[in-house]
Amino acid sequence: MSIIDTIRSAIAALTANKLRSSLTMLGIIIGVSAVITLMAVGQGSQKGVTERIQGLGSNLLFIRPGQSQASDVQSAVYGGQALTLVDTDAYAISDPEQFPYVEGVAPQVDFEARLIAGGENTTTSVIGTTPDYQYVRDFYVGKGQFISEDDIARKGLVAVLGDRVAETLFGDSDPIGKSVRLVVGPATMALTFNFRVIGVMEPKGATAIGDEDDLMFIPLPTMQARIPFLRHPQGLSNVFQISIKVSSRDDFDRAEKEIAALLLERHNVSEPDFEILTQTDVANLEAAETEISQTLWAAMAAIAGISLVVGGIGIMNIMLVSVTERIREIGIRKAVGATQGDILMQFLVEALMVTMAGGVIGVVLGVTLSTLADGRTILEQSVRADVSPVAVILAFGVSAAIGLFFGIYPAYNASRLNPIEALHHE
């Protein structure tokens, strides 16, 4: 029998028993769609990590304070940060004579605060920083202006809002020139300041340090100058992190060494009271964290793979039943001239049609589910899904292979039936 006739007759046989065929297909549909979706999410989480690390900027070094004691009140506001770095450390590093490979230096201090504007309010991270921040972090103002040297010098009450914060507080209206009330500190001793909005950042999304649209930028010294108990004894500003952009990765080692030497000397200590991280270190930390979730997704995809095999066993089961039910048909076909090969092909093609149809539906369902899941938050995890063609081909190929593998035994049984016995089967 020609292959087209074989396929046509398989379709006729399968549609004669629609409910059974679709139930048989269900196992494959679930297996294929689950494999595709879980692989997509696994891939997506990996891609997300890469993007978040790249989102930090390029060729960065980070200096953070080492262990030190902060006063209770200070740690209540600063979240327990040690205070060994100050703004002048950052300014010293930006000396082009001493560190020609340093392209930009952005010190920053961050704390949580509540923002109120009009009837809206939100809690967000406030970052005190300097104009270099834009260039160092490759994160620019989208509308209005960023903090200027003048704002730093005046310790001005001006703010640049992250894209999301601006939308939350002001909706569609233009926030520039408007006033934002900032409430900081524990409830019993909360302090309130009025800031004028001078700019809104371009949208950026999540990076390795969190959602960067959910931020507000103010001049580095503004808060510390205005809150008596945060004030530095020498009138400097405490800094939680100094981000340094160097001209190339090759400079990392040298920069790390020379900057460390400078800070030891400035702090007048022999053991470092700070730590220096490269972007690669940050990436590794981040990678270690996501490795766990990646392993999890891989394990789930493997379980989905098992369900594909179970679906295959279901197909074998149904095909065996189908052969038994159609023994007489097999006898008739043999009597009118079907060879063993014809009968084998007939049942094999039926099994393949079921799995491949299930595979196609599963692929469509899996791609749809992945698309729906992409960008959503599921179980407090932000899900990225990236359907790769490899996953689609793999899932479909595996389903066809399962049809072949589990279909061959029933088909072989059918082909070997004795025509005389088959014809007299009741």
Binding site: D5, A13, E329, V336, G337, Q340, D342
Partner: protein, 241 residues
């Protein structure tokens, strides 16, 4: 066209060999119409299955159209069944799902004939079923089902039609109608026909009747009713007892 030489067939019932055919020697000429009679268990069906290449003899030689069939493998036998032989069964053996025309197309499907629809319709028309081509077996009477079965044989232009109790599931009138069809095919198209039956008046349609008993041919004689119409419509000679 058929030549059986010393054909034996032994079945195994558990470990005990049970002989079904013991040394059959039989020649069937082209255009012959043979009835095989005998009590049940005499080996009629076994002989028919061997003639139809559904079964292989334990020993002996079977030649069909000069081809030694007993030496062929499964695949070659399937081709022989497809091209040279047509089966008609007591229980019709039609496929439940298919309309009549597709039943008749079935052998052509395995032969990969392209204009099989036309040939199938023609075969059904020859048997007076032109109005019933789209009907499924459940929508057809017994006689119609058997005629579809005969059309399924005829569509391949077989040289040999083998019928196993073709009237066994039909009422007497319909049974005779089916036998007259065989007679017509034998007479008009010169198709060789072998009918297995245990009814004397069915066998009476044949040109030649053999009797089997315990796996052996005990008699082989030409049919004595000269006009071969046992219903007695204008027979010129009385049939012998």
């Amino acid at each position: 066209m058929v030549k059986l030489t010393d054909i034996t067939k032994v079945y195994l019932a558990g470990d005990v060999p049970v002989p079904a055919l013991r040394g059959i020697n039989l020649g069937i000429g082209e255009g012959d119409f043979l009835a095989i009679m005998g009590p049940s268990g005499s080996g009629k069906s076994t002989l028919l299955n061997i003639l139809g290449c559904l079964d292989k003899p334990t020993s002996g030689k079977y030649e069909l159209d000069g081809l030694e069939v007993s030496a062929l493998d499964e695949k070659q036998l399937a081709v022989i069944r497809n091209r040279k032989i047509g089966f008609v069964f007591q229980s019709f053996n039609l496929l439940r799902r298919l309309p009549a025309v597709e039943q008749v197309e079935l052998p052509l499907l395995y032969r990969r004939v392209s204009d099989r629809r036309r040939l199938a319709l023609q075969a059904l028309g020859d048997l007076g079923l032109a109005e019933r081509v789209a009907h499924r077996p459940t929508q057809l009477s017994g006689g119609e089902q058997q005629r579809v079965g005969i059309a399924r044989c005829l569509v391949t232009n077989p040289s040999l039609i083998l019928a196993d109790e073709p009237t066994g599931a039909l009422d007497t009138a319909t049974g005779h109608e089916i036998m007259r069809i065989f007679q017509r095919l034998n007479g008009e198209r010169d198709i060789t026909i072998v009918v297995v039956t245990h009814e004397r008046e069915i066998a009476a349609y044949a040109r030649r009747i053999i009797h089997l008993q315990d796996g052996e041919i005990v008699s082989d004689e030409p049919n004595s009713s000269s006009d071969r119409s046992p219903s007695g419509d204008g027979g010129s000679e009385a049939s012998t007892a």
